[in-house]
Amino acid sequence: MTDWLPVDSYLVESLPEIWFGAVMFALTMYIVLDGFDFGIGMLYATRDNDHERETLLSAFGPVWDANEVWVIAFGTMTLAAFPDVYSRLLSDHYFLAIGFVLALLFRGLGPELREQRDDQQWKRYSDYSFIGGSLLSPLLFGMLAGRWVFDAATLSLPALLTGVGLVAVSVVTGAAFLAAKTSPTLAEDISAYGIIATLAYLGGVVVLLATVVITDAGGHAGTILSVPAAAIVGLSVVAGLGGIILAGRGEYRAWLASALALPTLLSLLVALLLYPTIYPPTGLTIQEAVVSPLALNLTTVLGFPVLLLVLWYFKFLYGVFSGPIEGDGYGA
């Protein structure tokens, strides 16, 4: 029944590289989309009146769960195409990986619990869970990525800066997303945090890359000084500074577009650094780590059309919940 699938050769010769691209695409979707949610969660800490908090939660409510699924897509696609990378990545960074999933747990649970009781104390604890989870999730995920890409220790500068960078870029996208969807006064308030976070992010990236070049972490000094990496960094600076100008002028939809470029470029940089050595700590390359042709061909034929369908769902979801939001809470 599967005669039509080649057993000993990939559907196209570069299928392993295409899958590397697909895994990186899922990673990008994750840090962009759940980045909105993390940003909302952290900015939530800056709101002290209940109406504004409810407004933030109503932006978060309908989309966060679907956004979070991208991390499962990223993980399972890695397992399906590069199982040895999956097992090394998670077992080599045991506490970071477990800490990240537990932070995600608290982030997701907070708003759900908050809705259930009209009790100030209860709401306060639920808020701690939401805010703490929203801060720690991108920090730990970023540190995990930093250790992976730069072959660095947990408490080293490259790992920490990658974590902090992901936190900052999440605040930027979350702020831009909220500004585009809320009332002008709230938007203005929130965009101020977005601007600070943009500057922090750009500064962080520069220090991170400088550290990597100086210490040659993961053997990446050469790649970072190459033209493509310089182009990515240059575009990030343009998108970041352009975003600050747009945010200042109150052109929030345009700001959102430029803000989205930041995590996308970050993930492009990660892809550049991981190609072709997909797991720097052991020097494992894409060609060595990839599964056999039949397995990859099957996952391609069954999985890629579904991936397109998923993108259409997201267009539908964000379409249904587009437009300005009011302070009607997490809902349900």
Binding site: V69, A80, S87, Q116, S292, L298, T299
Partner: protein
């Protein structure tokens, strides 16, 4: 600058308390306990999604078609339960797939080609579908048309059932692996996919899928019946809840007997494909003819640790075990545990199996009792029946969990039957300290999570009662509900 933090991590400061040989666990035991515990909690919510989905679709469809207030009430209540359960399912589920990597990397490497595809399909085909359309179902009543709304409820349910399908493709392959060959990759012997149809639709797959879907439906029907019975008990004329109780009993009348018939054939299939597990289920120590133990109670405390004919009072049919296992031969030889070097912990498997089967028969009894009352039109009048259903509401889950303990513990010492042993699947770099520390964290956090889920259900019921005009509810949100011990 970070030296103090690092040295604390290295010293495993929290473990100064745990460092005794009695408490600090080996990486293997701690990893297995952690996975077993987290999946036990996660599966409650997964089964809730699977079992509640048809109820939600039905209520939504009836609401949109008839504008009947009863169905608006039921849809709105159970969608809230579904949503809370879905959030719990997501947050408890992500650590599951991560543990394949963090704690069982050798398993991920060996089985990656076989299980990675199905898990990726689950995420892409099922989770996204559920998550996206649940957003619409929860927040979009006024934003989409009736038709899209009903369709959204259907897609959420379809996603839940499809997710179960792909997960069971993975699990059934671990029970009866086929469609692969062993090859070397990066210095390790791993499974290479040779025949996807054989691998995905391995001998166990359909048995497991039917049994699990039906078990979820039974568990949720009992939960719906229990909640309905409680509300009806508090307010007799809550006719929406009388309707819900009736629907749940009707579903139990079909699903509970079906589970027993199917389970009987399933057990024979297990005997064919995993004789060692079957021997543990039956406490069959020595190869030879087997009696069928219909019923067993311990006569000696030893029976809990090593159940056998000397310490059990059993009602047994001599040699019927042989007859059933072989399909018609009373003298057939059934493989005993003495044939194997390493065996699963027999008492856990033996007693879990008996508990599951016993509960299954109890559910048939409850369904028939309810059917009789319904026939006499007294379903909501019988205090005894309402109380029995309230008490039975968590028992479907108990049967579901014990059934999975039979499946998973009964497969030991293998994680993939006859291919990979569990102790070879565990991370070689994981230390006992690390694994014990995260195990404790998961124990604490998931216990809190189960308690929150129970409280959420209680609060939703209290809100519903308030909405129905039952005023005797207490002012405090803590303290036991009258008449309900532990409402799942």
């Amino acid at each position: 600058m970070f030296a103090p933090v690092q040295s604390l991590l290295d010293a495993g400061f929290a473990l100064s308390l745990l460092d005794g040989p009695a408490i600090q666990l080996s990486p293997e035991i701690a990893s297995r306990a952690q996975f077993g515990w987290t999946i036990s909690v996660h599966i409650l919510f997964a089964a809730l999604s699977i079992g509640l989905a048809p109820f939600i679709v039905y209520f939504t469809w009836k609401e949109v078609r008839t504008d009947d207030e009863r169905f608006t009430r039921l849809r709105s209540f159970w969608v809230k339960v579904f949503a809370a359960g879905f959030v719990m399912g997501t947050v408890t589920g992500i650590p599951m797939s991560f543990q394949f990597g963090t704690n069982f990397p050798q398993f991920s490497s060996v089985a990656g080609e076989m299980i990675g595809g199905p898990l990726a399909f689950e995420a892409k085909m099922a989770f996204f579908l559920e998550a996206v359309f649940l957003g619409v179902l929860l927040f979009g009543r006024d934003r989409v048309s009736d038709r899209t709304y009903v369709l959204s409820s259907f897609l959420v349910g379809f996603g839940a059932w499809l997710s179960g399908f792909w997960i069971l493709v993975v699990n059934s392959w671990m029970q009866t692996p086929q469609g692969y060959e062993m090859v070397m990759r990066n210095g390790m012997e791993v499974a290479r996919l040779t025949d996807p149809i054989a691998a995905f639709f391995n001998p166990r797959m359909t048995w497991m899928y039917v049994h699990m879907i039906n078990a979820s439906v039974i568990s949720v029907a009992l939960l719906v019946a229990g909640v309905s019975a409680y509300i009806v008990w508090k307010k007799r004329d809550a006719d929406a809840w009388g309707t819900a109780l009736k629907i749940a009993v009707l579903i139990l009348l079909v699903s509970a007997p079906l589970q027993a018939i199917h389970g009987d054939a399933y057990a024979r299939h297990v005997e064919d494909t995993q004789p060692q597990k079957f021997a543990a289920m039956e406490g069959h120590y020595e190869t030879g003819t087997a009696d069928l133990h219909l019923f067993a109670i311990p006569t000696d405390p030893d029976a809990f640790m090593r159940p056998s004919e000397e310490n059990l009072f059993t009602i047994s049919l001599p040699r019927v075990g042989s007859f059933l296992a072989s399909g018609g031969d009373f003298d057939a030889v059934v493989t005993g545990l003495d044939e194997y070097e390493q065996n699963p912990p027999v008492p856990l498997v033996f007693w879990s199996f008996r508990l599951m089967v016993g509960l299954g028969f109890l559910f048939i009894g409850l369904a028939l009792w309810g059917g009789y009352l319904m026939y006499r039109d007294r379903l909501t009048d019988s205090d005894w029946y309402l109380k029995a259903m309230i008490a039975a509401s968590p028992l479907g889950y108990a049967a579901l969990l014990t059934g999975w303990y039979v499946t998973e513990i009964g497969r030991q010492p293998w994680v993939i039957q006859d291919v990979l042993k569990t102790d070879n699947a565990v991370s070689p770099t994981l230390t006992g300290t690390e694994a014990t520390l995260t195990l404790v964290a998961f124990l604490v956090i998931y216990t809190g999570l189960v308690l929150s889920a129970l409280y959420i259900l209680r609060w939703l019921i209290e809100d519903e009662l308030r909405d129905l005009g039952v005023t005797e509810s207490k002012g405090h949100w803590y303290g036991p509900l009258p008449g309900v011990s532990d409402d799942d």
